[in-house]
Amino acid sequence: MKKTININVPVLARVEGEGALELTIKNQQITDLKLRIYEPPRYFEKFLEGRNYADVPDTVARICGICPVAYQMSASHAIESVFGVSISPWIRNMRRLFYCGEWLQSHSLHIHLLAAPDYLGFNSAIEMAEQYSNEVRRGLKLQALGNDLVALLGARSVHPVGVKMGGFAKAPEQAAVDDLLNRVQDIKQDAIDLINWLDTLDLPEDKQDFISVALHHDHEYPFNEGRLISDNGLDIKISEFEKHFKEQQVNHSTALHCLFDGKPYLVGPLARLNLNKEQLPEKVKQIMQGLKTQFPSKNMFHSIIARGIEIYFAVLEAEKLLTNYQADDEPCMEFEVKAGTGYGCTEAPRGILWHRYDMDEKGCVEKAIIIPPTSQNQPRIEQDLKDSLIQFGLDKPKDELQLHAEKVIRNYDPCISCATHFLNLQLERDGITETSIKTLITPPHFKNIKLNKTAIIGVGSPVEGDDLGFQAIDCLQENIKIKQLLDKGLLIYKLERPGMQLSESIKKHDHVIIIDAMKPATSNQKVAWVDVKQLKQKTNPYSSHQLGLAESLAWINSSSTLPGDIALLAISEIDKDLLVDRILKCLQ
């Protein structure tokens, strides 16, 4: 039997930012899968143009509340390289300490509040805290320590203010350092217990073929510096990034997709650990030897254990740096501004964060390019979803498929604020859409109609094979009764890829009928009127190009220049007589 399942998750929970998932399964095959990021673009690269270098760390921090340190570090290193600043060992160490804080806080947040509830059968950490009180409290304690380490150098943990181009604004007081050192020493056993607990979780077996990309430093686990390497032979300077990595737009996402030599790739904790295991301190290696899970690993679900291991590493590294701490009178390097281009690439909790700045001779930004980890991981997530859902079994019930898909996505810790800076699952199995638009009971009828101010617009994207709207227009133009209306001034035309073009077109008319290919759930009719308002409220497209349609309609609604009436005709097959009949009833 032919069966279509449509999974549609409109708001993905426990991810940072806003995204959705649409999935169509036909005859046991995935025919459509989109991780849709709809969080609006925030144009940071443009805000930076013309700004002085001194404003840059505090500007880029605002891209992400969870990893502001990463943004500040990549930007600082990039611009310092233009000015020829070479930082002192003290600043280098403090930047590592600063980063330890961010990894600790971000990884603990992701493990306990976002990911672990998936593997233990809860909807949130708050629910989980009843039964797993010690584990959740241990996580919150690690998270708090991370935040306090960031605040030691940055005065606060979210959008820290202590960073200056060339170093830090102020060296921390010894007393504050001593206090944190005590807490770091106390928490070491907690970090080890965390890894052992994560190793006992029932993680799916899901081996996949993927490319890991990370920074690599010969003697250290990477934070701020190194060469970019991959497990398929890449070994380049960070300034050569653009030769191999390219961003491109996909229509279902406001986040650009980044590909490595045309292929999806992985960045983040698992990629880092797969490539830099040998650089970990002996104590971490010892703990890893005793685990059921071994690295390098090709099971994406081992990311959560990789995060745990990196937490322990960050704790040990912080202990080392705090133990050797000596206050410095020069927490910031002196420099002179110069014009030029600089690159910065550091390991954000979610993976490499690459920046490029073109600076003018006054020290102002001419052009900025920022490539966050999530836009690099997005093509990999889509690829993973396809492979993982097939391994999971496409015949499973919808709820199970949805939860599995969400697990896969959350496992990447996608940060959508960063990437646009997540999930609404729309599942369709062989034509049965479980969440869909309803048809109108009363057909629309235009009152006080003036044919010379009325238009019928067929929308579609013929390139993508979505040309029903266009075919409908062709049928109408051939019909004798419609031809008579054309003579009286009625306009009929086709519009490719709606978007703003549609709204501009609609504004010109008092009455508009839009014909688009879509399949309403509550009707078997091939041609049916649907409620425009209902469509507007939906966040997910129902046809390949409808994103533009729903959103341009919403946009028109919000602007003052509303036409008198808009009616929306949904067609799933061309039925000439029904089509003409519906149109004539609406217009007469």
């Binding site: 930012g17 969080e39 690269e45 443009k46 509040l113 919150l140 650009l256």
Partner: protein, 257 residues
Amino acid sequence: MNKPTIAVFKFSSCDGCQLALINLGEPLLLLSKLVEIKHFAEAGPLDEDAKVDIAIIEGSVSTAKDIERLKKIRQNSLYLMTIGACATSGGIQALRNMHNTRQWIGDIYANPSVIDSLDNSSPIKDHVTVDMELWGCPVNQKQILSAIRSLLFGVVPKDENDKVCLECKRQQNICVMVTKNEPCMGPVTRTGCGALCPSVGKACYACYGPAETPNTHTLANRFSGIGLVNDEIARRFWFINSGSKPFLLEGRRWKTE
């Protein structure tokens, strides 16, 4: 008695203000005992259309869809509280209000027609009635907990609108403007952060927005006196809270085309 209910919503933002809740640690577990968290996507609970006592909103309005969503939230909530610079003044992304973003979308995206983005990033209060605003980029835990606690006690939460200078003096910081000619925004900026930037020797960059009766014009003249060119002065006001009226107008005075 039923527990009071809260919901946390995100619009265009960096997620940093929600962290004031997510980073609470132990008090987050306590909070979940005092109130029922109906909707908080990042933390897990999902019920966007639930009727709640307190709706907490992070982020600014920047797409057409946002406006309709916001109206629904207003209808469903007894009190509506905005948190952070984005929700209260449009945030750093309000910098786009001074530019032609259609052009920008064209520069960034190969197929601009699929991008839903209004020309302006605007605060929540431009679209619905807001009962209470918590300023700051980001807001801190103390602000948000004290506001929720006050509402639970049935009292009006205290609006801290003093200038950063007062807090800075209480901390006995050395004034960075007087001693180092740093263009500090403290004299016109709302307190609440704890005068963090001056306490590490940096000039305040007004992430908490304008204080009550801010004398922006005199401060801008002072910036001119310490050698800032007009464009630099405008940028001091046009940064994290460029959409707030006093800062918007002062920036406009100095902006050279």
